[in-house]
Amino acid sequence: MIETTALAALIYYMLRNAAPLMLTAVGGTFTERTGVINIALEGIMTVGAFFAAAVTMLTNNAWLGVLASVVTGLIISYLHGLVCIRFKANQVVSGVAINILAAGLTSFLMKAIFGSGGQLIMGDAPRLPVWSLTKLILGIPGLGRLIQAVIPENWIRFFDESIGSQVPGVYIAFIIVIIAQIILFKTPLGLRIRAVGEHPRAADTLGVNVPQMRYIGVLCSGLLAGFAGSILSISPGASGFMVGMVAGRGFIALAAMIFGKWTPVGAMGACLLFGLSEAVRVSASVILRDLPWMQVIPSQLLALLPYIVTMLALAGFVGRSTPPAASGIPYESEQ
């Protein structure tokens, strides 16, 4: 069987891998709920990851790196919004163009600014700090004492190793999922967003500004995907930016969005599943090597796992999951 430390590590990697997917999937949910398909999330993550690493290296401040990734995410998603909403282009084609642009632009700037191709080695440049939830909880006067008295020490250590000392993105991702769920289903803004994606004409008739709602959706997705990119490149222990490092995560996030029936909480569940499949891949050689089936499967083939899980999940669930009715269709105002 797997030891407890190994199990803790598995949970740790699951959460860490799920976090960028969760943020991106929530972004995808927002944009598709307003009726704009955003295939460009992959490219936005790439650009976010690059600018986070580059700005961190240039300023020696990881939080400025996060800011840069969010801002570039907004800029690029605005470009997508402009082309899709203002100029009514084919949204999938525009997304593909942005993905190609992102791959080219990041390698171009890497070469032009840092003179390196393929990889941006960050070396001693700072990373984001580890946020210790364990210390925070144990630090609460009274409650911390109580917990230490009641709960066995190895349970606390297990909690710390799996959930308690995570990269900031993990905690932020869970908070954002909850906020997004509330905004989307409990506020007037959420109602407008959903209305615009289901029946833009009806929403327009009732005085909802359709293009404005759609811009809000697209910009949300850009902001979140850009931030998700920064988690990949400048989290504690991350090695910086590499060409191709996003490796389809933007599309896996879109699959999670479909899997989660276009709700943030549902997408979160799907992302945890995909995160687990990636955690198995990452930690296979270290943690799971004692399991009997690990000797049979070559470790290189485990790289396929997240992609196969994604396809299976889509094939099994997509029939029962319906996209917003107006998703992907440009809106023509009647005036």
């Binding site: 100029f87 084609v93 163009a97 070469k111 599309f251 070559p298 290189q300 994604t310 396809m311 029939g319």
Partner: protein, 387 residues
Amino acid sequence: MFKKPAKQLKESLLKLWELIPRWLRNILSAAVRIVLDFWRENLKVPVIAIIFGFLVGALVILAIGKNPLLAYMAIYKSVFSGMRNFSETIAYVTPLIFTGLAVAFAFRCGLFNIGAEGQVIVGMFVTGYIGFTWPHLPPVILLPLAVLGGALAGAIWSGIPGLLKARLGVHEVINTIMMNHIAFYLVNWLVSDPFKAPNYQATAPVPESIRLTKLSDLFSFEPASGHTGIFVALAAAVICYFILWRTTLGFEIRATGFNAGASKYAGVNTSRSLFMAMVISGAFAGLGGALQTLGVRYRVWEMAAFPEFGFNGIAVALIGKNHPAGVVLGAFLFGALMRSDAAIQMQADVPRQVVAIIQAAVIFFVAADEIVRWLVAKRKREVVVHD
């Protein structure tokens, strides 16, 4: 008796025409018909998109303080100066024609095949596998076997997302992307572990008997990578045209792409159209991979990154307006860009990735043809104001 010179010329041309073997005459007249057909499409948008794409590239080059004219001269020189350079370009154009046809064919059915990349990869591998596994088969059997094997591999690779789309309605974009990554990791594992040749980051080579003749040997100039696969690619463009516009299947595929609901109502089996469109699309891409192995690479090599033929095929199809003749022209443009990216870096000191930026800009402007129309309309408005 004297004839008028024009009539004389016409008669002698006709005689010359009759001298050409019948099969070649059929191909030539078909080619002319396809080109004329393409000419009738609205070509303003792709042409303006290409010009704008290069303008955006020039701005980016200016932004890093380099000379765009120098970069564009480097492109011109590395494509057109001498037969050797031209043949090197053809080596890039050949697979791009196949991937462009693949994307265009699926597009005609309303499908977006982003998986040409993965289909090329499995095509390259299966052709190589057949080649190095049975090197002693006579070439008349081995060559078709290897080529068809590559095409079949591509067809299967796109058929899976096609089936999922046709049966379950799963969006093909996500699945073809997933299949790209699966192809990449799977083939990289196959060539680095079970089929690795000693001392190579690759498999064993395909036998010389089935390698494609180099254009440089055929027309005797300095050795260069271009191979006779380019003729197969041009023939594939003709076949693509005939399937789409001269067969019932092609009609049903285009009808489904034009309006799936109406086609279904009119009795078209739209599920079959979707599936067949994906399968044929993947076969084109797989063929491209097959010829890449037989004409250029000879071994199946471990990949550090995606070979990018599939992604560029998307751009090729878009600027070619999803028409086979346009695909050939688009493939030439992007093949030239892929060929010259090293020269851009060497001669103009511009990072070669500027090529990807130009490509993305071109796709943007083609996709958002409203932008082009808006710019044109704006200029007209200004003229009115000045009057």
